[in-house]
């Protein structure tokens, strides 16, 4: 087989695997795991967005979830009984990307001079400000419905079929979670594609240059302000899309989904997977979503098997194991589970 054929065969195989995965998982492990996969995909999209900001451009952003929130609330407000608007998802999602991108610039612009941990704390503050506004904008005019959140959001529809409803096709019933899975996979692939293309371009190089040495980058003629703002905007718009998907999938949004811990979790995915390395980030997103669920299933029964009784609360044990896993991974793979190997890529290309 020629390399071209091989690449094609590889792609086809991955495509088939991705297509069959939810059916297999749904029928063996149950739809819970398909739903877990759905969330994993949303987190992967988020992590890929944050990766642009943190991984490529080296800007530590602890308020990233704010963009997710912006996307989610935009969807919620435009497609729910709250304002009686029922826009189609396909109009809202791109708008969400745009609005979130705008918020990205809004955050980026005043913080350009800040470095490292100062930037981290300002972005954290920004994230909290957004959340607090969402939580409070039910007075004096009710915009966000405050802490009660917005319920009965329209499901995302494809070709007139709301994905929340099971679909009969090819003699198989696809439950809602599976349908969403397909949508999310497609979007995640698109975003991976954008990420890879950007990384391997003039712009991607400029981001890395800024990360490596901002002063030298400036002296090389890079307009660091614009390039940084671009990173913020791109990352934010990915977050905005993910937020819209989340709102449509969950059919409910409330401010508590957009707390600081979520930002930290997404950051963990990026770093633990391998900052700046797209496959690594995907792995990170996948692991950090699946792991706690696996612990949820494992923590009780495993103890039962090992000690004959449940010694520790499964819930505490689950979080405990999660914390320990974070520590261990970092100790043994400080650059992440699947770090960037820049020179390897370059070598491969030369041959």
């Amino acid at each position: 087989m020629s390399p071209r054929h091989r690449a094609f065969a590889g792609t086809a195989l991955i495509a088939i695997a991705l297509a069959v995965l939810p059916l297999v998982v749904g029928n063996t492990l149950g739809n819970t795991w398909v739903r877990v996969l759905d969330y994993a995909l949303l987190y992967i999209i988020l992590a890929l967005g944050l990766n642009i900001v943190v991984g490529f451009a080296g800007l530590l952003d602890l308020g990233y979830i704010a963009f997710y929130a912006v996307g989610a609330y935009l969807y919620a407000l435009l497609a729910s009984p709250h304002f009686g608007l029922h826009w189609p998802a396909w109009a809202i999602l791109p708008l969400g990307a745009l609005v979130a991108g705008f918020f990205g610039v809004l955050l980026g612009a005043p913080t350009l001079r800040l470095r490292g941990d100062y930037l981290a704390i300002v972005t954290l503050g920004f994230g909290e400000i957004i959340r607090i506004f969402l939580n409070n904008l039910n007075q004096p005019v009710n915009i966000t419905n405050g802490p009660k959140g917005i319920a009965r959001i329209d499901a995302i529809g494809v070709a007139g079929h709301p994905l929340a409803k099971p679909l009969e096709a090819f003699g198989v019933t696809f439950p809602g979670v599976t349908l969403y899975y397909y949508l999310f996979v497609l979007l995640a692939i698109a975003i991976v594609f954008v990420g890879i293309r950007l990384q391997d371009s003039r712009i991607g190089r400029a981001w890395v240059a800024i990360r490596e040495d901002e002063i030298a980058a400036k002296a090389c003629g890079i307009n660091t302000r614009n390039v940084k703002l671009l990173a913020f905007a791109m990352g934010a718009s990915f977050g905005g899309v993910a937020g819209g998907l989340f709102a449509g999938f969950q059919e409910f949004v409330s401010p508590e989904s957009f707390g600081l811990l979520e930002s930290i979790m997404v950051l963990c995915m990026v770093v633990l997977g391998g900052m700046g390395h797209i496959p690594g980030v995907i792995l990170g997103g996948l692991l950090l979503t699946l792991l706690p669920e696996a612990f949820r299933y494992g923590a009780g029964p495993l103890q039962q098997a090992a000690f004959g009784r449940v010694l520790l609360d499964p819930e505490s044990l689950r979080m405990l194991l999660f914390g320990i896993a974070l520590i261990l991974v970092m100790l043994y793979r400080p650059a992440g589970l699947w770090p960037e190997a820049r020179h390897r890529r370059e070598f491969a290309e030369k041959k």
């Binding site: 490292g116 300002v122 770093v271 609360d313 505490s316 979080m319 914390g323 974070l326 970092m330 400080p334």
Partner: protein, 317 residues
């Protein structure tokens, strides 16, 4: 019409808000000192510091309860509880440093941040297993009296907290800026390898810094729980976050900055909660207290990118 409130605040209420802010601020400062200490040496946000504070509070509480039950007189109980908590936290700090941070000394910058988050989760869960999910009430060990100044109340506990925060800061500044150990700490913070050439055992210095920072955490924990009369395994997170914000506001790595940042944040929060409503004609209320605080933080950092007291970066192009 009848709702019309005087815009000029009543003196007693205003003064009370200042006291509130100073107390809260001193607490932030006390915790922030621990952050800044470690950050100053290692350039590491020790995300687990808030949890160390929590462990300090709960350990002191457990000790105090046991001692009170054994009939030990309260002043002695306080001292012993503080002592035990400090020792436990110091040991904890040493362990955290050894296990979670030392192996990552030369790792990418964000790696220790993630282990710090991991440690923080682990400490919380362990505390939950040991002390349960419930809130604990804290026996009154510090003096309970209070004074009235121009109609505003201030308790002895509050005065003690302010005094402890201020003297801790002064003590630390003395240590870091004036002593041989402090110089070694600062040298290590820049380059452990070069400091080693001067005979500095970087491992020892870093460990020591951690131990001091964590001991401070215990002190902070005791003060916090004494002030609020309540302790819980989850108390460290938010406190840590606020304190860290304060440290950044003041200029992280700078001890005086931690104090200034803490006090400022405390006063901003108190005045924010107290007066935003009146100032905005009721459109915004105390629910925007944190927005206000973060807004101030952002504005300060825009004009002073390394915090209020932060040193200019001594880097040359």
């Amino acid at each position: 019409m009848g709702d019309c409130q005087p815009i000029i605040p009543a003196v007693d209420i205003f003064l009370q808000q200042i006291f509130n802010g100073l107390t809260l601020g001193s607490i932030y400062a006390l915790v922030a000192l621990g952050y800044t200490m470690v950050y100053g040496i290692m350039g590491l946000i020790n995300f687990a510091h808030g949890e160390v504070v929590m462990i300090g509070a709960l350990t002191a509480l457990a000790t105090a309860k046991a001692l009170l039950a054994a009939g030990v007189p309260p002043p002695l109980v306080l001292l012993l509880a503080l002592l035990v908590a400090t020792l436990v936290c110091m040991a904890l700090g040493a362990a955290i440093e050894r296990v979670a941070y030392r192996p990552l000394r030369n790792a990418p910058r964000l790696a220790p941040l993630i282990t710090a988050i991991g440690v923080s989760i682990v400490l919380q869960q362990v505390a939950m297993l040991v002390w349960g999910r419930n809130y604990h009430s804290v026996p009154q060990l510090l003096p309970a009296g209070s004074y009235e100044i121009l109609g505003a109340q201030i308790t002895e506990v509050q005065l003690i907290i302010m005094a402890v925060a201020a003297s801790t800061m002064l003590g630390l500044m003395q240590l870091v800026n004036r002593t041989r150990l402090g110089r070694a700490m600062r040298a290590t913070s820049e380059s452990p390898a070069i400091a080693a050439l001067m005979g500095v055992d970087a491992n020892r210095i870093i460990m020591l810094t951690f131990v001091i920072g964590s001991g401070l955490g215990a002190l902070a924990g005791v003060m916090v729980s004494a002030n609020y009369g309540i302790a819980h395994y989850h108390m460290g997170f938010l406190l840590g976050l606020k304190a860290f914000t304060a440290a950044v506001l003041g200029g992280i790595g700078n001890l005086a900055g931690a104090m200034v940042g803490g006090l400022l944040l405390g006063i901003i929060e108190a005045l924010g909660a107290g007066y935003i409503g009146d100032l905005t004609g009721g459109v915004l209320g105390s629910n925007y207290q944190d927005v206000f605080a973060f807004f101030v933080l952002i504005v300060v950092l825009i004009f002073r990118p390394s915090g209020l007291m932060g040193e200019k970066v001594a880097e040359r192009a």
